[in-house]
């Protein structure tokens, strides 16, 4: 697999050209069927936005207006930033946001590094036991990690890593499927480049670092995006391993504080909107890369 065969999802021109396909007629002609298609598409896409809009709307209401019966779309008392002021005033959200950044970045960088090293070792090296270790690694893709929370928690407790960053990060570094994807990619890189570098006296680590990694930039980006989203949104493990509010990630902290906000619905919505923003902003700027990263990695690099 090379960079060119990564699924290209996001270019408008390709989408437009393929519209001539099963829709039959030229893209400019509006047959009744195409109009019906457009209407369904717009309605479906709009329906998908409703929960966003309803919560954004609520977050700008006062608490009194949020709980008025019958439900009002436009609040009687006008819009206000009060809910945001309160939520941000409590300060926790900033701490959790920082924790999420630390955890997600550490998980992404460390996972990519160790998985890429391992993938290269499995792809190019001839140490004893290589085949067996590779087979075990691939078989473990089947294991649903969530079912290991009980023994894993006990283990982290015995390591004294409960309520630490490392306790959150370390168990999230094991991604056999990423090793598999990267190995497949490395297998496709022609060996001539490495041979000539070896002639020039470069060692394996040096070859890996300055030849293989630069050549693999697209697949590394795809894998990194996939890992980052996963780590940023991971709930179950961070939820189990952290009790100290100062160490919680955003999803866990927010879940814990919901009871704290009590029946403050506008504040609930404001906190959720704030927590939703970071990845949405990133998505707006890196849509193409994210779409490609998710599509590629989701397919196991096919």
């Amino acid at each position: 697999m090379t960079a060119e065969t990564l699924p290209q999802v996001s270019s408008n021109s390709r989408a437009r050209s393929s519209s001539q396909t099963w829709a039959g007629s030229s893209p400019r002609r509006l047959t009744p069927w195409r109009v019906l298609g457009l209407i369904s598409l717009v309605l479906l896409a709009a329906a998908w936005l409703v929960p966003f809009l309803w919560n954004i709307l609520t977050s700008f209401k006062s608490e009194q207006d949020a709980v008025r019966v019958p439900v009002q779309i436009m609040p009687e008392g006008g819009f206000t930033l009060e809910a945001y002021r309160r939520v941000l005033g409590q300060g926790n959200l900033v701490v959790w946001f920082t924790n999420s950044v630390v955890v997600a970045v550490a998980v992404t960088v460390l996972s990519v590094l160790i998985c890429a090293l391992a993938a290269y070792g499995f792809s190019r090296m001839a140490f004893r036991g290589r085949k067996l270790l590779l087979a075990i690694t691939l078989a473990s893709i089947m294991v649903p990690g969530q079912l290991l929370i009980v023994p894993l928690f006990r283990q982290m407790a015995s390591f004294d890593l409960v309520d630490t960053y490392w306790g959150v990060i370390l168990p999230q570094l094991v991604h056999p499927v990423i090793v598999y994807i990267l190995k497949k990619f490395f297998d496709g890189i022609p060996r001539e480049l490495e041979e000539s570098a070896r002639m020039d006296g470069a060692g394996p680590l040096r070859i890996f670092w300055s030849i293989i990694l630069p050549l693999s930039r697209p697949v590394l980006a795809a894998v990194s995006i996939f890992l980052f989203i996963g780590a940023w949104n991971n709930f179950l493990w961070p939820f189990i391993v952290t009790n100290n509010p100062d160490l919680m990630t955003l999803p866990v902290g927010l879940a814990n504080v919901r009871s704290g906000y009590g029946l403050q619905y506008a504040q609930n919505s404001a906190a959720a909107v704030l927590a939703a923003l970071p990845l949405l902003v990133v998505f707006v700027f890196f849509q193409r890369q994210i779409v490609r990263g998710v599509a590629t990695t989701g397919l196991g690099g096919q």
């Binding site: 099963w22 094991v174 394996p204 709930f235 955003l250 999803p251 998505f283």
Partner: protein, 307 residues
Amino acid sequence: MTSAALEQEIPAAGGGRAPWTTRLWHSGVLFVVPFLLVFAIFLVWPIISGFVMGFTDASLNGRPASFVGFGNYVEAFGDPEVWRTLWHTVLFTLITTLPMVVIPLGAALLTNLGFPGQWLYRMSFFAPFLLPVTVVTIFWGWMYHADFGLLNAAMEAIGLDRVPWLQDERYAMLSVAVTTVWWTLGFNYLLYLAALQDIPQHLYEAAAIDGAGAWRSMWSITLPMLGRITGLIAVLQLIASLKVFDQIYLLTRGGPNGSTRPVLLYVYDVGFSGFRLGYAAAISYLVFAVIVILSLGQLKLFSRGSD
């Protein structure tokens, strides 16, 4: 073969006397060691220790565990709550799988028609996938709110009665399923979009020359070409659904009356609230066996279908 040739070159590094670190790097072992370390400590070891734990009465309160043989497994087989929660997990999987294939497929086909505003369609279908589960459940908890939620306001507006979506056993699982579809559909949607654009253009051109219309092309080319990806999506979907925990825990805590409690939440409750780690580990392994059997069965089903 190349790697064998590679090994022979190793001594060249230091005139036959390379330092042992260099030799280790050249052998390639050091490349896989970091991964294998975390792999062994955080995946393999929990698998083993969990298996052993399932045969003990290990407890969270720290008293030393003693061996109980198959006691936990015998208890699990006779525990109606294990089967009930396992059924909830399977039910959730059954309800969500079909919509998680059909809706993204429809949305991708419609998007692929090429209307202006591509960016917006992708954004609205895929954006929910980028949200942390807590945000998703706050959003939907507020949509479903019995008194102040938008859904009941809409029900009233069209003359229907209010429904306590998350507090009524008849609707709670359905509500959880709807939230899940909204949240995770974007992933399958992207996979379908990518697959659609990989269908070779010349197939359509050839069909058009043969006089095939739009519908004909769709039934005879587009849908058959999506068969493989549909199989893959169904397998991924099954595996993900059987592990359901987060959104149910956050929306209903498994209620009302335990009617939405998935088996993973039962494991959590037994282990972390009930302090019975040994019993929780045994249930995990039962579930693991079920997941492996189901996914192997499905894999076989689909690989036969696509050949």
